[in-house]
């Protein structure tokens, strides 16, 4: 029983992480019909942004909650800016080109970030950047304590924070998308950008906003992962990025609740497969799910079948 509970707790916390990243994929797909393959690398930048900020603030010597807050907000700003710039400089000039062009550009941006971060330190940089290929260790932002035990399963303040923050951001996003003017505009743009323009909606600004929002969620996910699994490196975004992409497709790409549910199901199935079967199947399960979804329900759980208009 306690084993089951432990897997359940792990699965939910992993699932919320996938959900946070998957939301970025799905929102960008919603407004641009583009799979932003650089999204996993924005996640990586989020972790490194937090890493550098933590060192700058001297978290190693004196960890504290206010500093944690600064690290989170700072990293969110960094990623938001990065997401904005990627869209503005790489995707927008290609907006009216064949969709494949933008997709390949996304892969290019992904490589640029992954390999750019693996370069040796630039001599003119005041701090250790780029970090190079060796893994770094994300510092402990605040002291870890056990909050309570359920049987033999112990819940730490880290677990509680991760779950709480992830849920907070998802609820916040739901609010933005379904209750604010920006959200209505975003849904309108995702339905038809040309008609959205006729309503007076500044389509480019909404698209920028969508990238910023998605990138902020990716940075939150990265920090929540890094505090409990502190090894970070420039290609750390690859696997979570791919799996979150699977989660988004599973839920129905372009569908916001779908990304959340898809992420949770993926995280849970990964933990249970690793726990009860073989831990080496951990990564295989995500892609097995992808294959099954594509075979039997390509539009995803919540997706609608769309036929190409001629």
């Amino acid at each position: 029983m306690s084993e089951f509970l432990q897997h359940l707790v792990n699965g939910i916390s992993l699932g919320t992480i996938y959900a946070l990243i998957a939301l970025g994929y799905t929102m960008v797909y919603g407004v641009l019909k583009l799979i932003n393959f650089a999204h996993g690398d924005v996640y990586m930048v989020g972790a490194f942004g937090g890493f550098y900020l933590a060192h700058l603030l001297g978290v190693n010597d004196s960890p504290s909650l206010p500093k944690t807050l600064v690290v989170f907000v700072g990293s969110m700003l960094i990623c938001g800016t990065l997401g904005f710039l990627i869209e503005r400089l790489a995707y927008r000039p290609l907006r009216y080109r064949p969709r494949l062009t933008a997709l390949i550009t996304a892969i290019g941006i992904s490589f640029l970030l992954e390999f750019g971060f693996q370069l040796p330190r630039w001599s003119f940089m005041p701090f250790d950047f780029p970090p190079g290929p060796t893994p770094r260790f994300f510092p402990e932002l605040f002291p870890r304590t056990i909050w309570f035990n359920i049987g033999e399963v112990s819940i730490s303040n880290y677990d509680a924070l991760a779950l709480g923050v992830a849920i907070l951001f998802m609820v916040g996003l739901e609010f933005i998308i379904y209750r604010t003017k920006f959200g209505v505009a975003m849904r309108a743009v995702s339905f038809d950008p040309n008609i959205a323009g006729l309503m007076g909606i500044p389509v480019d600004r909404i698209i920028s906003g969508t990238f910023i929002l998605g990138s902020v969620l990716a940075s939150v996910a990265a920090l929540l992962v890094s505090i409990s699994r502190p090894r970070i490196d420039p290609i750390m975004g690859l696997m979570p990025g791919l799996k979150a992409f699977v989660a988004a497709v599973f839920g129905g790409i372009g569908n916001v609740p779908g990304a959340m549910v898809g992420g949770l199901i993926l995280g849970l199935s990964e933990e249970f497969v690793a726990g009860y079967m073989l831990s080496s199947f951990r990564d295989a399960i995500a892609f097995a799910i992808l294959i099954l979804v594509l075979l039997f329900r390509p539009e995803g759980l919540f997706g609608r079948i769309t036929t190409e208009k001629v």
């Binding site: 003017k181 339905f191 040309n194």
Partner: protein, 237 residues
């Protein structure tokens, strides 16, 4: 009479194909102007070029005295032009109420937006009944009413309407046209594209006949209704 909209020598290309060849037209303030013609004559393209959905490669578009050619759609809306596009352009994934609110996207004056929302619902009571419903569940006629009501939410000086009668039952067409007349009475200028030439010419002060991307004839609605060429080509006599 002062022209609210003045289009001169407009050329539009789709890739290598020329869709508009030097279109010129004037829409005087407080009038109803109609564009009629067959499928593919360039009526929809003309409206799209005016509202900034398409780029015109040559020519000038002046709205309320200002050159608006090259502006983006949302900037043109801000200047007081609304466009109820071909195929109604309803956001089928949003509710009826959200669609209407989007029509007022650029307006900050919440109170008068709420008042206009009421006016819209009074114009088309069926929309009020369905305001929390997803717009995709509306019938064609209801979607057309929503399209017109939504375009009015921006408080436009000029309203472009693309085939408001397309695919609708005769009673619904009657209803839409009677509302268009009411809208015109409130001081809004209309530029109307129609395949239903009969109806369009009946309410238009002035009309243009388009053929393969050019204006081939123009006159008052009554003149064109009486013209033998128009009767033969577009009214089925």
């Amino acid at each position: 009479m002062k022209a609210l909209l003045e289009v001169q020598d407009l050329d539009v290309y789709y890739g290598g194909i020329q869709a508009l060849r030097g279109i010129s037209l004037k829409v005087p303030e407080n009038q109803i102007v109609a564009l009629i013609g067959c499928n593919g004559a360039g009526k929809t393209t003309t409206l799209r070029a005016i509202s900034g959905m398409l780029k015109a490669s040559r020519g000038s578009i002046r709205f309320a005295g200002e050159q608006i050619k090259g502006l983006r759609s949302h900037q043109i809306v801000a200047r007081g032009m609304a466009h109820a596009p071909e195929g109604r352009g309803i956001f089928l994934n949003l509710t009826v109420g959200e669609n209407l609110e989007l029509g007022a996207y650029l307006r900050k004056d919440r109170e008068s937006v709420a008042k206009d929302l009421e006016t819209g619902y009074r114009l088309f009571p069926i929309l009020f009944e369905r305001k929390s419903q997803i717009a995709g569940t509306l019938s064609g006629g209801e979607q057309q009413m929503l399209s017109v009501a939504r375009a009015l939410m921006s408080r436009p000086k000029l309203l472009l309407l693309d085939e408001p009668s397309l695919g609708l039952a005769p009673q619904v067409v009657e209803k839409i046209f009677s509302v268009l007349k009411d809208i015109h009475k409130t001081g809004i200028t209309l530029l109307l594209v129609e395949q239903n030439a009969h109806k369009a010419l009946r309410i238009a002060h002035h009309a243009y006949v388009l053929e393969t991307g050019s204006v081939v004839m123009q006159g008052t609605g009554a003149e064109l209704l009486a013209s033998p060429e128009v009767r033969k080509a577009y009214l089925g006599d």
